[in-house]
């Protein structure tokens, strides 16, 4: 039996989103390369992470609202030991980015893609990027540098 000329791709073993009624709109947004954050119809605040009610006023009048994706680095770390499937990626960065949208600043966690971890500094501009996991029909987000 002759060997195949291309090896089978490594199966994707990093986490994938668990699809639920209350996060499906968000995941659909990612697919369309939109980052949707719940915005309160009563007080106008954004809430992150998504909660069933507004984190400022408890209203359930929430609308998934696209944000610009622009942010600044609030903090970050460079992992030199990674859990599970991330062990192969070290060193990799986890960034806590502060979205530019107000009111109620949203601090969003994501990995850094498209730049070396060494460039990271608190306060530097970043923006949300998207990448697909085609074999699982999923689109995920990451942070990337912004001029």
């Amino acid at each position: 039996m002759t060997s195949s000329s291309t090896a089978a791709p490594m199966p994707y073993r990093k986490p994938l989103p668990a699809i639920a009624d209350d996060n499906k709109p968000f995941l659909d947004g990612l697919r369309r390369h939109r980052f949707l954050v719940p915005k309160c119809g009563a007080c106008g605040d954004y809430s992150w992470i998504p909660h069933p009610a507004c984190r400022s006023c408890l209203s359930e009048d929430l609308t998934w609202t696209p944000v610009s994706g622009d942010a600044t680095v609030y903090s970050f770390t460079i992992a030199h030991r990674g859990p599970g499937a991330f062990a192969l990626d070290v060193p990799y960065a986890i960034v806590l980015g502060e979205l530019v949208e107000q009111p109620r600043p949203c601090l969003v966690v994501g990995n850094l893609v498209g730049a070396l971890p060494g460039v990271l500094e608190i306060g530097m501009p970043i923006r949300i990027g998207y990448h697909d996991v085609p074999e699982h029909d999923a689109t995920l987000w990451h942070w990337t540098t912004r001029a």
């Binding site: 073993r13 990093k14 986490p15 989103p17 995941l27 770390t77 460079i78 992992a79 859990p83 986890i94």
Partner: protein
């Protein structure tokens, strides 16, 4: 209205703590429970309450196992502890209210790692919310690392400042023969900074241990306590607070003047006990990472926000200082067995009983035991203990 009675710690026990123990979690927990009861001069038949966490997959509720294990009789107080729910004072509340006379707190673990190495590569991609801690390759050290970096950015602390904590707690461990790391000798700041990076800026020695072992302690009502083997260690104040989920939601500012759950429990328990900081003889504060110790000193009011590193450098928390802390070596050098809430209670109890030998704080009569969990300072319990 509930009657009110005093409650005291009457028995404590720690098993061997080691990186890997050739034991089962069940066996370690049983050893610890029996050991703490023996220390108290009580028996299993005296127990009418339990607090702990289940390591047994087949019993989703911790108390189910203990109810039948103890012989099929009603337990009137139960508290399921998870990492985020220390609840150290709650059994004292129950005892004080007359709901139980003798409560055992216990946790023991073998053959399971808490840290990064304990996450296997699964056969297929695990499914979770996309904002889950683990989704972006996160684990506890990464979040404490981000918290440390933010703290260093805002207040000018350095990696050397953090390393001081590891050095001091290792020094205490060298005086504690039960500690995992005491036998390895002292650490220097260079040792800490030269240890491998885990998640920048945290090095290996900035991080808690990850090992097997068990602990247990027994809380009893005053009329029982006075008949136990040793001098009761009275619980004269305690509080618990929670403010975060498990490493997902972060509000700005992450480090704030008004403080977190930690500040709240410190203020409440001090007020209940009617004490001030300089009344304390000894303390044991949650040191899962070096940064945590510095922040705890600020939040609990030993020093001001931003001054924790300087306060630590001044040596107040070393044996011989004004408020020796983590005299057992802490989570950094004594033990981190997965759920460590009992260790501060047990070490402070041993100090107040005068059982600490070379690491004894002379004349210790008043102590603070503090533990926490959840997303950096997200859940906290403080207990004030007193003898005499």
């Amino acid at each position: 209205m509930f009657p009110q009675r005093q409650a005291a710690v009457v028995g404590v026990y720690t098993s061997e703590q080691a990186r890997v123990l050739d034991r089962t979690s069940d066996s370690l927990q049983l050893e610890a429970v029996k050991g703490a009861l023996q220390d108290a001069g009580l028996t299993a038949a005296d127990v009418d309450g339990v607090a702990g966490a289940s390591m047994r997959g087949r019993y989703p509720w911790f108390e189910q196992y203990w109810a039948t294990q103890l012989g099929g009789r009603p337990l009137t107080y139960v508290q399921e502890m998870t990492g985020a729910n220390p609840g150290l004072h709650k059994s004292a509340l129950a005892v004080s209210a007359g709901l139980a006379d003798v409560v055992v707190h216990v946790f023991g673990k073998a053959n399971a790692r808490t840290g990064i190495g304990g996450h296997p590569v699964l056969d297929e991609a695990p499914r979770m919310d996309p904002w889950d801690l683990h989704f972006t390759g996160g684990s506890y050290p990464m979040w404490y690392a981000m918290w440390a970096r933010r703290y260093m950015h805002e207040f000018g602390a350095t990696s050397e400042d953090l390393a001081q904590v590891a050095v001091a707690h290792r020094h205490h461990a060298t005086l504690n023969p039960r500690s995992l790391m005491g036998g390895r000798g002292e650490l220097t700041v260079d040792d800490v900074l030269g240890s491998r990076l885990i998640a920048e800026p945290l090095h290996l020695y900035d991080c808690a241990l990850d090992n097997d072992g068990a602990w247990a302690f027994v809380v009893a009502a005053a009329e029982v306590a006075r008949g136990c083997r040793k001098e009761p260690v009275w619980i004269i104040g305690g509080a618990e607070a929670v403010e975060t989920d498990l490493y997902m939601t972060v509000d700005k500012p992450w480090i704030r003047e008004s403080g977190s759950a930690v500040r709240r429990v410190g203020e409440m328990s001090f007020a209940q006990a009617g004490i001030r900081h300089d009344d304390l003889d000894v303390a044991n504060l949650y040191d899962c990472f070096t940064i945590t110790m510095i922040r705890n000193l600020e939040e609990l009011g030993f020093c001001k926000l931003g001054e924790g590193a300087e306060y630590f450098r001044e040596g107040h928390t070393r044996l011989g200082g004004s408020i020796p802390c983590n005299t057992d070596g802490g989570l950094l050098s004594h033990s981190h067995n997965g759920m460590t809430h009992g260790f501060p209670m047990i070490e402070v109890t041993r100090q107040l009983r005068g059982e600490c030998g070379p690491r004894q704080v002379p004349g210790a009569r008043l102590g603070l035991a503090f533990s926490q969990g959840a997303s950096v300072h997200g859940a906290a319990t403080a207990v004030v203990l007193a003898t005499g």
